[in-house]
Amino acid sequence: MALDDRKSEFTFVGTRPNRPDGLDKVTGRAKFGADMSAPGMLHGAILRSPHAHARIVKIDTSKAEAHKDVKAVVTRADFADVPFKPGLEGEFWNVLENVMAGEKALYDGHAVAAVAATSALAARDALKLIEVEYEVLPHVTDVDKAMASDAPVIREGAADYSVPEGMHPNVVRYHESGHGDVEAGFAEADLVIEDSFVTEATHQGYIEPHACLGMLGNDGKGELWCTTQGHWIAQKTCAALLGIETSQLRVTASEIGGGFGGKTTVFIEPVALALSRKANRPVKLVMTRSEVFRATGPTSSASMDIKIGMKKDGTISAAQGVFRLQGGAFPGAPGDMTAMCAFAPYNLTNVKQVGYDVMANRPKQAAYRAPGAPMGAFAVESVIDELCKKLDLDPVDVRLKNAAYEGTKASYGPRYERIGLVETLEAAKAHPHYSAPLKPGQGRGISCGFWFNHGGETSVSLSLSEDGSAQLMVGTPDIGGSRASMALMAAEVLGIPYENIRVTIADTATLGYNDVSHGSRVTYASGLATIKAANHAVEKLCERAAASWGIPTDAVKWENGCAVPSGPNAGDFDPRPLADITAHMGSTGGPISGHFEATPEGAGVSFGTHIVDAEVDPETGKTAITRYTVVQDAGKAIHPTYVEGQYQGGAAQGIGWALNEEYIYGEDGRLQNSIFLDYRIPVASDLPMIDTVIVEVPNPGHPFGVRGVGETGIVPPLAAIANAVSHAAGVRMRQLPMSPPRILAALKDNG
């Protein structure tokens, strides 16, 4: 596709100014979820199930209600009766059931009641006065065991139409896709490897726990302040769960201390509002870290079988995968996403993938950067690595040989538009890291990764001030420096300095609907809308200039922040800078604003290639990551520093997921490690400096060529690290995390 219509020379885009929220954050002035208070405010606390699976026989709240400091107690009866429907259709019901247990507690940490009291301590103490009678039921937390015929049933009738007959009721969705004839392809192969892999659930690990302040009156009018990746979805969900009109609840997003997908739904927000409605006072709720681990969404855990056939020259002749994902006690585990992404980097004649969404007695999984994709890449790219090793082929060359390009029929169906996988592989191969010598005990791994990226409903407004500065209102909470990127894109169109643009995350009452900040969509979709909103304002600026010059509007163009005649025939007028036009806007037709809203569809898929060196201590099984290079296609990097930050963040979280992070359940089905001491995310000294290479293959679907970069960066690390560790240790690692006890045991088994 020709890109002649696409802007390729930039003044502001591609520079690296400080983020507008930076000073507030380093000085403590920024207001996060827990930083808001209101007159008369109460403090809430939530009682949680100590059982993995139990029928709630009776809840007696009378003693808590009688406590002098307690102003309200709520249980499930205080929420709207959202009807249960099977599968995804019933997402409001699922969220309600997760926010406050109904007939059964479905996992350790499931909310069963809540109180609001005059102090946080009083609220916490009042929880001890609530008496809950449980009938403990058999539980299951492992994905393979949850699919077995003797597994306890989490909920009958939760499966949707897609599930084949004869599956256990815990299997709630089924996905199958692909093309060609895999059996014929395996027959053509010189080597076929079939192997199985498992990964444990990990948490997004955002540093800011969920926190909110809710106010809801008996008139059905409310206000909510919360830390969230999407306040419109919070508004819509809370309104549904509380039985009020959506527009009567105004939701404001606080600054957010990390989300990574985990703050794309609600947990405590409807509870705070329910308590507030009952007490007729504002209620603040702040989770503890332990509550975050036990009751908010980790990833799915996964169990996967991969079979790949390869010819001696490295051509993949067939590939097939079965991906079983456990997503907690609710439908939603992204088995379909895992299946669709697993083979997406490759141009395959024969490919088949199957995904299962399986329920177990664990917290409801939530999105975590490219949900479902990292696990699949771990399994597939491990097998490709093993094939390369056995056939004595270079792993980058093999991936180049099979790499998808423009026009390739993707493993999940459509044909790719212009994509940048080949360019990332070529950049990886040319990078000094790939040819650097390794020390004894070290191994090198590489992996590719894919993510779809997303557009989503988007609405942006821009208004100009008399002095020529601009205010930009976007509706996507800033989780990665997006305010800086929006200001750069607006500056590029308007031709005014970056510093003259203030970007605000508008609340639900002041802008049209915006989807959540997810799917790596913000710089793409809000960026596209920002450019179009700025163009809209530029049209009006040109109209004003044309009117002042007495020439037609189409005889005026916008250049370097000024209205100028479009050519010699249009007339001879001095350029009118933006501030000159806005200074008189009140008397020349009124305020000048720009607006754009759409659901843009051209997000542009994204690929990356990672190179990792790992060193394994053969006596203890401890791994050190000694060098790491991320190569990823950004389409066009609006603010390169924050693009690099996304790449490094993906690698850092991937290192944690690969080496030490995991949900550890006891025999009793209770989470054993619900604090950061025992849930081991990497500390700074665990990480090498993570090198980054930004590849720019413009996305045809964005005016400046942007592809989202937030998620792809976490897809390759699990596989790349596993390949590096497997080479360093001399034994193939098939289970994540590759914690020292697992590596040492594998070394022992290997003799």
């Binding site: 332990s290 006596e619 203890t620 001491l677 990497p682 500390v683 000294s685 020292p740 006890p741």
Partner: protein, 288 residues
């Protein structure tokens, strides 16, 4: 909750002896306050001993031994100009605990009396032959460090008793100590295995040795078979293998979220060898 800040150990002891319910002594608070916040232990009586005179002192005595106050922090130990020269293993073990912020509060005494089998400073102290003074209603007594913990979260201190000072022996000639722990990360973690080694040489030959293991049994272990394995040797490979075997044999660990029985047993031997080599090099006056 009653909070007290007595001016003497005798007063602290009397307060504890007369208290009802759960009593905790508060020095750095890096365990007590965390347990309180997380509702694991909510004391009825909290006795803050930081206001007792001299509790933050680190003193080298005339005979070369050291007295460490019960509120002297890890940071103060690490920054002391001479202590680390005499007992690098003890100082390093203490320094491994927690973050920089925690180092500004955490104490040897607190680490010992918390009763955790995984306490980093305790194997190092046991190897070094550290004793503590215990003050109680009946007066004071001297107790070896390894006699204090009796199980996870439990100590041999009786009601009204508290540790009032820590005593590290004189380093003497040709000695060296070392402490190593295994954690899956590089910082901010709890020992999965900890090993303290303290030895003395005559020429190249080990003449005295104490080897202590942490996190591999309900309490810290002082393993005589480990000491025997290296005493009389030049720490040759055979002696190191015997040391590793003795360390592994002494382990009585559990499977838990932090490690497995097999892993702890194996790695105890690995770390014992590595720690012994460092202690040996230090005893010879080499950098290690």
């Amino acid at each position: 909750m009653d909070y007290h800040s007595p001016a003497s150990f005798a007063e602290a002891s009397a307060l504890a002896a007369n208290a009802t319910g759960i009593t905790r002594f508060l020095a750095g608070g890096t365990d007590v306050l965390v347990q309180l916040r997380s509702e694991l232990v909510t004391p009825d009586t909290l006795i803050d001993i930081k206001k007792i005179e001299g509790v933050s002192d680190i003193t080298k005595n005339a005979d070369g031994s050291w007295t460490i106050g019960v509120a002297a922090t890890g940071a103060e130990m690490s920054e002391h100009p001479e202590l680390g020269g005499d007992w690098p293993g003890v100082v390093e073990a203490m320094d491994l605990i927690g973050s920089t912020q925690v180092q500004g509060r955490a104490t040897l005494t607190g680490n010992l009396c918390n009763g955790s089998p995984a306490a980093d400073s305790v194997p190092a102290m046991a190897a070094a032959g550290v004793t503590v003074t215990v003050t109680g209603p009946e007066g004071t007594r001297e107790v070896a460090v390894e006699e204090i913990p009796t199980g996870p979260g439990k100590t041999s201190l009786s009601k009204g008793e508290l540790v009032s000072a820590v005593h590290i022996p004189a380093r003497g000639e040709d000695g060296g100590d070392a402490y190593l722990r295994f954690i899956p990360r590089t910082e901010m973690d709890i020992a999965v295995v900890g090993v303290g080694v303290n030895l003395r040489l005559d020429g190249d030959t080990v003449t005295e040795a104490r080897v202590s293991l942490g996190a591999v049994a309900p309490t810290v272990l002082l393993v005589e078979d480990c000491a025997k394995a290296i005493i009389g040797s030049t720490l040759d490979d055979a002696a190191l293998d015997a040391l590793a075997a003795a360390a592994s044999a002494a382990c009585n660990p559990i499977d838990d979220k932090r490690g497995t029985i097999a892993f702890r047993t194996e790695v105890a031997g690995v770390l014992a060898k590595r720690a012994a080599k460092i202690a040996y090099a230090r005893a010879k006056g080499e950098q290690a």
